[in-house]
Symmetry: C2
Subunit: 236 residues, 2 copies
């Protein structure tokens, strides 16, 4: 039967602008006795990517005007406002609260912005693990987003390299030989959410490993596949 | 470090109305060499629950009018229509395509409806595993739903028993001693999505096991916690 193992990568240490994430994470995985392996999917949180890429800005936590201006600068469109919550579409096309800007697990007076190009961030980590350690992993950059209709947040993929963001089962037959109607599975989002189950936001763990994914899912891809175009979205 | 193991339960065989799902799944898990254990979270797909509970109706696949009438009967409100796609709010409060009615992996000319009370379905499986096999598991009933804003579908929880649908981190401090702003994590949805990664829709595997979840998450809960009330939903 198919099985997966998912584990957290601890002991990565504080990441600063310019640090090579691929090396820090691969070394920490080895140090805890679970070295990365070919065919792993490495899930890296947005926060640590933003730190490594220097996507940090000063933000006075009491200055609501500055905060709103920053959110609007990082957004292509504001979709909804309620009290101090803005739901916006980022320049990447992601719909999320406050343009994905977050102040937890960064220094007081600092805010972390989303990476400029999270797919490129994912590719850089993947290429780094291969170049420095000779291991072929897929990489997902994850972030914690809310949803329409449902309470609570889940981790989703904002950057992908080496794994299908979406697996399309079109043409696949069910157990009775009938074509499946539900065909596009957002595998990268399910993997990001699965890795969140071992990371824990309070502890600030920056990465997890998902081992055992279907080898047919490993292909070139980007998180842009996960973005529904506004014109095709019935709820925007 | 924290780690999870996730595996599919194969060999359950065809389920018919009146079958005791708890027993069929627990026996299949044992037969494949991975018996259920205390502290496991058993994820059971909606389809097999609907079959066991006899939530099957005749539906001529070519009769669009009958199909639409069935969807409307199973819905409290139709939110959007496009071509033959209806996004509706079910009587439970779930927002999904076609009221969750599905025709794959059931006989030709038959459609599976959502369980009447998926939380009760989850509790029944949980109680059955405990009563018949003496094992204390949490149970999630999962289904495959689309999302606003994002392409592709993911598995989410429509019924929950014995596991927190949402884990609220309110009051938890980040690594710098600052209160987390993102606090409500939809753990049951992340677990449902994780289990989908080992099941595979084409093979019609009806259950998966997630082993190693944080023991603090095991508590009484229902999937109603995951339903955002329409009045609080900015996108309905």
């Amino acid at each position: 039967m198919r099985s997966l193992t998912i584990f957290a990568v601890e002991g990565v240490g504080e990441i600063r602008p310019g640090d090579v994430l691929a090396d820090a994470i691969a070394r920490a995985a080895t140090a805890q006795g679970t070295p990365l392996e070919d065919g792993d999917c490495l899930v890296v949180t947005q926060k640590v990517v933003s730190k490594a890429e220097g996507r940090l800005v000063a933000l006075d936590p009491d200055d609501a005007t500055a905060r709103r201006a920053l959110i609007e600068r990082e957004s292509a469109r504001v979709l909804r406002r309620r009290a101090d919550l803005l739901i916006t579409e980022t320049h990447h096309g992601f719909v999320c609260a406050n343009a994905g800007i977050d102040v937890s697990n960064v220094g007081i007076g600092t805010a972390a912005l989303l990476p400029i190009d999270p797919d490129r961030s994912a590719r850089r980590v993947r290429d780094g693990v291969r170049a420095l350690h000779g291991i072929d992993v897929a990489v997902i950059i994850s972030d914690t987003f809310g949803r329409a209709w449902r309470q609570g947040l889940t981790d989703v993929a904002i950057g992908v390299s080496g794994l299908a963001a979406i697996v399309d089962l079109k043409g696949t037959l069910d157990a009775n030989g009938r074509a499946l109607r539900v065909t596009e599975i957002a595998v990268a989002d399910e993997v990001a959410g699965a890795a969140d189950l071992v990371m824990g936001k309070a502890r600030g763990i920056p990465a997890g490993v998902v081992r055992g994914l279907d080898e047919e899912w490993f292909r070139e891809s980007t998180a842009r596949e996960l973005i529904r175009r506004p014109a095709e979205d019935l709820f925007r």
